[in-house]
């Protein structure tokens, strides 16, 4: 089975129409997202002091995007519900599991536990930003595929972002350093051995590319 088929949004069949009618592909919803997740809570307390602009500009995956955020909004929520970037997962929303890991100026952060307003002038990379425009996978992604990847893979985007951060910082990590670098991500399937194998391979691929 080729990879291309995998990424089709829906399998073939006559019910495809129903599917598409009902559900909006995540990427397409951006322009009309304000009704999904309001910019300002309706019940927010009244006194609005003009401390922060509401519309801010975010640099996500190399693209500058304008988005209306609440002061208390986390980056994970902005990415997932305002920018349609659902690759960043919410596993705990408490900086504990790492499924929401993104890179901010190349450094790994828990997107669930940083305010969107704190990344205004910084560049954010999510799992969606790793693949090249021509479909070439990032060496880390390719390494994961070549090692047979994750199990349930809900943690995968976070782990992959941590691996990217590691390969950027340390081109020749030992297995121990790799484990340490990935210790902010949790895999409940317990697939750590394969994850470490993937990360070691990723470092090797990254070295080869340089």
């Amino acid at each position: 089975m080729s990879d291309a088929e995998i990424t089709t949004e829906t399998p073939t069949g006559h019910s495809r129409r129903t599917f598409i009618k009902g559900v909006i592909a995540t990427g397409a919803v951006v322009s009309s997202s304000s009704h999904l997740f309001r910019a300002r809570s309706l019940s927010a307390s009244a006194a609005v002091r003009a401390s922060m602009p509401r519309m801010i500009s975010l640099d996500v995956n190399g693209v500058s995007r304008s988005v209306d955020v609440m002061p208390q909004e986390t980056l994970a929520m902005t990415l997932r519900y305002k920018l349609g970037l659902t690759g960043t997962k919410l596993g705990c929303d408490r900086a504990e599991c790492g499924a929401c890991t993104v890179l901010v100026d190349g450094v790994s952060h828990y997107a669930c536990s940083m305010l969107t307003n704190t990344v205004r002038d910084r560049s954010v990379t999510t799992i969606e930003g790793l693949e090249s425009a021509d479909g070439t996978l990032h060496p880390v992604q390719q390494a994961v595929i070549d090692e047979g990847g994750f199990q349930c893979a809900f943690c995968a985007p976070g782990f992959i972002m941590s691996m990217v951060a590691l390969t950027n910082e340390n081109p020749e990590p030992t297995r121990e350093e790799t484990a340490e670098a990935l210790s902010g991500n949790l895999c409940r399937c317990g697939d750590y051995n394969k994850i470490l194998n993937s990360a070691m391979r990723a470092a090797e691929y990254a070295r080869r590319m340089v």
């Binding site: 089975m1 399998p11 690759g87 199990q151 210790s183």
Partner: protein, 798 residues
């Protein structure tokens, strides 16, 4: 080359590494709004009144759903919403609003009056004279004339006093009991008899993906996006809960971010999403957060147990007396304790055995199967005791396991059944060789500064397969084989791996196959739940059966088109060839559509499940269909085995333990997908490490409120808590009772990992078995320092 036995890339992997894989919370619908739950703050209460007027008056609030509006099953069944919450965190009502912050603010604005009711957190407290029960109906259910009946079971104070005096588990009247052989004679025959009370904690499943869901209604049909282990069965179950016909519900669950038994089929809370969406006529997203997942996400039942085991001087186990009190939670009926009895009998093959037990309802979150339910607990509890006997009798610890291990025709359990195959000794030998048991034994007790090394071994069996499900295949005119899979996609890759049985039989390359999964509108066959290690066994069989059906039809289609007898045609290389020539699968598909009847699915076999019939009917006329029920013989009960070998380093001054080496070796029949098997062995074992070392529940006994509701307080293992590198092996002997020879492997590694670690820790402590799980730092340090343990042996939630 046959696909079975090869490493292949699962078809969903690219989506998983690019972030395009869509889990339930990743779906969006136009006009989607958000739901939030109001959870019970009390362990047991009755809702006196609810005043939602302030909440409903808030701008953006769209409606609430109360318990009366959802299905309320009879006790001990669980409803999605309740007016008599039986644990802290149980959902009482749900509210929808245009955004989540508003929904949260509105939940806070609901005035609810709760009447606290008596509650029980520790099962033993409920058995004491005058102890309170978790449920108004009673604290246990016993098999009576009309099935299970409620009972308010109390044991005499004298039993508690006696138990305390003897430092053992109180053991009053059980509700379940079975035995075989002459136990007294067995113990009389024994040269060494041990007796211990052992406690095993309850622990939450905590899959990475919480059970979020999204639903909307269109033209009277409900569209529900959820996370499930088993798509087809979830579709059926949820339709049933919503009182819908299967074709009135479209259920989509393409990816499942972990389940481990907690999302086997329908998830109760999905009803709430669906009903709320119907009520307010808007698409509803119910984002379940980790805090809520802790409560409604299921957990493994804990055991308070006692055992007496007799050993002959040659290591043969003569008799086992086992007593288990199970901590059940407030709903349903978990059979873990009974399974634990059967597992014990199977793995140790005593001449005589008695099992007694009971399961107590408690006001703690609901229990469900968790990867090797019952098995994972009992092996971790008993294996260190077998070590103790081996040490006492001067027998090698691996050897004593081989001495007692069952063979293919060994009987076990109350019904004295046999297994389909038991290559236990082979798996042990393969693992011991891979791990270098003989060499690593030398490390046992070795000291390096304050660290002492312990080497452990743990054996773990579990049920590994069911049968009787359907396969549904279609070759479309594009020449591709579409393998319809009703099992789920929770990362074991069995969604792809079981499909190989069909691909291999039809001689196809993997690139010529497409797996259809995860969406009820894509027509799944009736399938096993993806739980209990069933799928690799059940669906290699079902797909193989369908492939045989398809192969026959290909031959007949070719014969009809090209002439000659059908049996003279060969299938291979995406073609069917014979005396009259050769045709491609694509051509055969066209031809089958033209021929109609059974070839294109217009006529269907009698014995397939109605669900499959419905799906096949929908697909009829679109290609050449292979559809069949798995009618292959299946004599005996299918069990798989994993033996774990671990090395730990225990710091004698801090009680800190590091697992530094681990090998798991399996008897799971034919190895279908080596890399996936390794992942199952290692992943399951890692869950076992967490069970043995860190995960546990804590409740405040006065208020009945739990504390381990965050990941950092529940403490599942992280990447630094496991060895840097792990190894595996497999016996690789095919199971004779299944055509592909493969048995399931999901369950047994958990117990193997846990037991190997508890065994290794006991070894590091010079053979002292602490009889408590988890073996946390404080427990180990208290033992090393000769100080009182932090909690009484029988306490289960502290």
């Amino acid at each position: 080359m046959a696909l079975i036995g090869q490493d292949i890339s699962p078809p969903d992997l690219r989506a998983k590494v690019t972030g395009r894989a869509r889990y339930a919370e990743d779906f969006r619908a136009e006009g989607m709004v958000f739901a939030k739950l109001l959870l019970s703050p009390m362990p047991h209460a009755r809702v006196r009144s609810v005043d939602a007027s302030r909440a409903l008056a808030m701008p953006g609030v769209l409606g609430i759903l109360r318990a009366a509006e959802v299905n309320q099953p009879d006790a001990p069944g669980e409803a999605a919403l309740t007016d008599e919450p039986k644990y802290v965190g149980e959902p009482i009502l749900a509210l929808a609003a245009v955004d989540e912050t508003t929904a949260a603010d509105a939940i806070e604005a609901i005035d609810i009056d709760l009447e606290p009711l008596p509650f029980a957190i520790d099962p033993l407290d409920s058995l004491r004279p005058g102890g309170s029960n978790a449920r108004l109906e009673g604290n246990v259910m016993r098999l009576g004339e009309s099935g299970r009946e409620w009972e308010d079971l109390k044991w005499p104070q004298a039993e508690f006093d006696a138990a305390e005096a003897e430092g053992r588990l109180p053991m009053g009247e059980p509700t379940d009991e079975w035995d075989h052989g002459d136990l007294d004679a067995a113990f009389a025959d024994a040269d060494y008899v041990l007796e211990d009370t052992i406690v095993h904690q309850s622990l939450t499943h905590h899959p990475m993906e919480p059970r979020s869901s999204m639903a909307y209604w269109e033209d009277g049909r409900c569209y529900l996006y959820g996370s499930t282990q088993s798509t087809q069965r979830a579709h059926q179950a949820i339709a049933g809960q919503l009182d819908l016909e299967p074709d009135e519900l479209v259920f989509v669950g393409q990816y499942c971010g972990g389940g481990f038994g907690s999302k086997i089929a329908g998830v109760p809370i999905y009803q709430v999403t669906a009903l709320l969406a119907k009520k307010i006529q808007r698409p509803v997203m119910m984002r379940i957060n980790r805090y809520e997942e802790n409560y409604i996400g299921r957990a493994r039942p804990g055991f308070q147990a006692w055992t007496k085991m007799g050993f002959r001087s040659d290591g043969k186990i003569t008799g086992i007396d086992l007593y288990i009190i199970q901590d059940h939670g407030p709903y349903g009926r978990s059979g873990d304790y009974n399974t634990a009895g059967a597992v014990t009998d199977l793995m140790y093959q005593p001449d005589a055995m008695r099992f007694r037990g009971l399961t107590l309802y408690t006001n703690t979150p609901p229990r469900a199967a968790q990867r090797a339910p019952g098995g994972a607990q009992i092996v971790a509890m008993l294996e260190p005791l077998v070590d103790k006997a081996a040490r006492e009798l001067g027998i090698d610890r691996v050897e004593i396991r081989k001495i007692n291990a069952p063979t293919h025709d060994s009987e076990f359990g109350p019904q004295r059944i046999t297994t389909t195959s038991a290559f236990v000794r082979e798996a042990i030998d393969a693992g011991a060789a891979q791990f270098d048991w003989a060499g690593k034994q030398a490390l046992s007790g070795q000291r390096n500064g304050t660290k002492v090394t312990g080497v452990g071994v743990g054996l773990s069996p579990y049920v590994g397969g069911s049968s009787g499900f359907d396969g549904l295949l279609l070759i479309r005119p594009d020449g591709t084989l579409y393998i319809h899979q009703g099992i789920g996609n929770l990362g074991t890759h069995s969604m792809a791996d079981t499909a190989r049985a069909a691909a291999d039989e039809l001689g196809l390359e993997w690139d010529d196959c497409a797996v259809i999964w995860g969406d009820s509108s894509q027509h799944h066959p009736y399938s096993s739940v993806q739980a209990g290690s069933q799928t690799i066994h059940a669906h290699t069989r079902a797909n193989y059966a369908a492939a045989l059906d398809m192969k026959r039809k290909l031959q007949e289609v070719a014969a009809a088109a090209l002439g000659g007898s059908a049996s003279a045609y060969q299938v291979g290389g995406a073609r069917v060839s014979g005396p009259g020539g050769s045709m491609s699968f694509a051509q055969a598909a066209e031809r089958a559509i033209a021929m109609g009847g059974e070839y294109s699915g217009e006529a269907l076999p009698e014995d397939i499940n109605d669900y499959t019939r419905g799906s096949a009917t929908q697909l009829a006329g679109q290609g050449l269909m292979g559809v069949a029920r798995d009618n292959f013989s299946h004599e005996g009960s299918t069990w798989s085995w994993v033996v774990g070998f671990a090395v730990v380093e225990l710091d004698t001054e801090t009680g800190d333990v590091r697992i530094v080496d681990y090998t798991g070796s399996a008897d799971c029949g034919v190895v279908v997908h080596p890399r996936s098997l390794a992942a199952q062995i290692h992943g399951g074992s890692v869950q076992g490490f967490g069970q043995a070392r860190s995960q546990k529940w804590v409740f405040d006994p006065k208020w009945g409120v739990p504390f381990a509701h965050r990941l950092y307080t529940a403490r599942p293992p992280g990447i630094l808590d496991v060895p840097l590198s792990m190894d595996w092996a497999a016996a690789g002997e095919p199971d004779p009772q299944t055509p592909i020879g493969a048995k399931g492997i999901g369950e047994p590694p958990v117990g193997a990992g846990s037991a190997a670690v508890t065994s290794a820790i006991a070894d590091a402590l010079g053979g002292r078995c602490l009889c408590r799980i988890p073996l946390t730092t404080d427990v180990i340090l208290a033992e090393l320092e000769g100080r009182a343990q932090p909690h009484a042996l029988t306490e289960i939630h502290s």
